[in-house]
């Protein structure tokens, strides 16, 4: 009978890990549906970006108070994982506070700092809930988040608060039972912890037996909650906790203004101008389409961007088109790209061979009107805390619109013909290009 909880815990751990690994590999597969793109240059700079942008959350510090609050939740998440390690090991070996004898006095210090973090996390999560639901910050009240995305954010904040309360309550009962010299709790006398001791007055009237049951319930709910959280992550915007790191590493290092070259078109122009350079044998590459119509045409980095998006909306708040009421929202560009990748992923789960081509990212998810509103000002790229480029996706879809669908507003078509005929975007004769000299 003694072994029963241990076995139950082991089974729970295996199931939680398996489900997470399965979903993670699906996401990896979905990201790799994207076009191949080699990103391997300048490793030292990439590691620096990973440390500064992902670990150091550099971009968040444009607003220091929010950055600090975010850092607390994040620190809480990372550091309390050390506590989770102890919980997992206790669960598997049937021990209680395994680390206490090993760490000696340091253990009290360690748990006290976890408790401090837990309390700070609760305060911050409550503030975040207030910002989202009572103050209704514009970027959180936005229609972009209608439905699931808005609930997603709130669920996570609530879950964090509950997990932290369970952690504190568990510690409170433990130390109370220690003082009563009850059962195995008395094996490791740690003394009261910084914050959980304030639970004691409420808990005093309960019998030691029922407290023990409470403590076990808190323990199980805490760890089950963490496993649930782990498996919730891949379906949520909170995946950024993990993907912010690779996304910072693979972030583009070139000046933001530089657009990606299309060597296939560069060569086509070259061969048209200098036919002697054209290869004599034609390869089968003519079937390749120009620009992107669907997620398969985007680079895997664009799809990693989509899965890394935390839907914070800093991009959309900075977007001049969005500010002035246009349909374009860079955040929605990323959310729709992820939605489309998930849709394709689901059909792949059902049937490994068929690729869902009934719908496409362009038109079914993102409209030409949204794409045409972009000024390529890169404010969204600058604003993004996790190194996402919505502009890169927008430009590839625009290329498809123009080069594959000849879908351009009339004014752009006349701009094109002016450039072709007069070498300037206006209908003015090339012969008058240097007329300004005459007035000098």
């Amino acid at each position: 009978m003694q072994l029963l909880p241990q076995i139950a815990f082991a089974i729970l751990t295996v199931i939680a890990t398996y489900l997470f690994a399965k979903k993670a590999s699906e996401i990896r597969r979905n990201i790799l549906l994207g076009r191949d793109e080699k990103i391997s240059d300048n490793a030292p700079q990439r590691w620096r970006n990973l440390l500064l942008l992902a670990l150091g959350q550099k971009k968040m510090f444009k607003n220091p108070l929010v950055a600090l609050m975010h850092l607390i939740v994040y620190g809480g998440f990372i550091i309390i994982n050390i506590e989770v390690l102890e919980i997992v090991l206790d669960g598997l070996f049937g021990t209680h506070r395994l680390f206490a004898p090993i760490l000696g006095n340091g253990y009290l210090w360690l748990i006290n700092s976890f408790e401090l973090l837990a309390v700070l996390v609760i305060i911050v999560c409550i503030s975040f809930l207030i910002r989202r639901n009572i103050i209704k910050l514009k970027r959180f009240a936005s229609n972009d988040l209608n439905g699931w995305p808005r609930s997603d954010a709130n669920y996570i904040l609530f879950t964090e608060i509950i997990l932290m309360l369970l952690f504190l309550k568990m510690n409170a009962i433990d130390t109370l039972l220690q003082s009563r010299d009850f059962g195995h709790y008395a094996q490791n006398i740690t003394g009261n912890f910084l914050f959980s001791q304030y639970y004691h007055p409420i808990l005093q009237h309960f019998s030691s037996e029922s407290l023990m049951v409470f403590e076990r319930i808190c323990w199980w709910m805490h760890i089950a909650g963490i496993y649930a959280f782990l498996n919730y992550l891949p379906y949520s915007k909170h995946l950024h906790i993990i993907l912010a790191f690779p996304n910072a590493y693979y972030a583009r290092l070139e000046p933001q203004g530089k657009m990606k070259n299309m060597p296939e078109i560069q060569n086509e122009v070259l061969y048209a101008m200098q036919p002697e350079l054209a290869p004599t044998e034609t390869t089968g590459e003519n079937a390749k389409k120009f620009g992107a119509k669907d997620i398969y045409d985007l680079s895997w980095k664009n799809l990693l961007d989509a899965y890394s998006c935390t839907e914070c909306g800093r991009c959309t708040t900075a977007c001049p088109a969005n500010i002035t009421g246009k349909k374009l929202s860079p955040r929605l560009i990323m959310m729709k790209t992820r939605d489309r990748a998930e849709e394709v992923g689901k059909s792949l789960n059902k049937n490994f061979t068929t690729i869902n081509k009934e719908r496409t990212l362009l038109h079914d998810y993102i409209t030409a009107e949204e794409l045409r509103a972009c000024t390529t000002c890169n404010a969204c790229v600058e604003a993004c805390p996790v190194s996402i480029s919505p502009v890169d996706i927008i430009m590839q879809l625009r290329r498809y619109l123009i080069m594959e669908e000849s879908n351009a507003p009339q004014e752009w078509n006349s701009m094109f013909s002016s450039i072709e005929n007069n070498f300037a975007p206006w209908k003015l004769s090339a012969d008058t290009r240097d007329n300004w000299i005459k007035d000098l």
Partner: protein
Amino acid sequence: MKINTMAEMMANNETPDILFWVGCAGSFDARAQKITKAFATILNKLSIKYAILGKEEACTGDPARRSGNEFLFQMMAYNNIQILNGYGIKKIVTTCPHCYNTLKNEYPELGGNYEVVHHATFLEQLIEEGKIVLKEDHPFSEKNISYHDSCYLGRSNNIYDAPRKVLEALKTELIEMKRCRSNGLCCGAGGAQMFKEDEKGNKRINIERTEEALETGAKVIAAACPFCNTMLLDGIKNKEKENEVAVLDIAELIEQSMI
């Protein structure tokens, strides 16, 4: 005032120190031509040996590329690079951030490698070296100035300080707009928007930016891009403030204040 073309220089067996890339706006747009003339005047006053391409210059392809027409961009790039390489151009200075970005960042991988300088950086250097000296009582000495960051100079290429240093030389008060430097708001012209109507919305982008510029109370809105200049000037006219507030390029401010 004599302005040489590359063809004329070649014919005289001369090589200029720099090529002044005028750009389409600077060549054809009536407002932007004034910026071109101001900058050319500065170059002439300082006896800098420069040339333009004249009729041989063509659109860099920026608006074509950003609207999605990569073919047209590649055509323009190919022809421009042929001409630039043909003349053996080493250094280019331009008054247009869009031309600057394309020449500097996008031509190298197509075979066009030049030292490309935007006129903000160029003027900053001339001031620093003491070659440009400003009058004590220049026309703007009593006027405060607010500088509008061009996206293609700022966020695209990280040039924020050079234009500000140029303006500091005027020794007048510089007032920043709420959204400035890397948070600067676009004028609305980039990404080939200059050549079409805004998409449906509740405001034009240039009006949003103009309102912010007017909030500073500055009497001069300074820009370093011919497209920003046009957009902001349209905004000022829309607000009927063109008699109180001037929209000027940094080159114009310097040219009018030079000894």
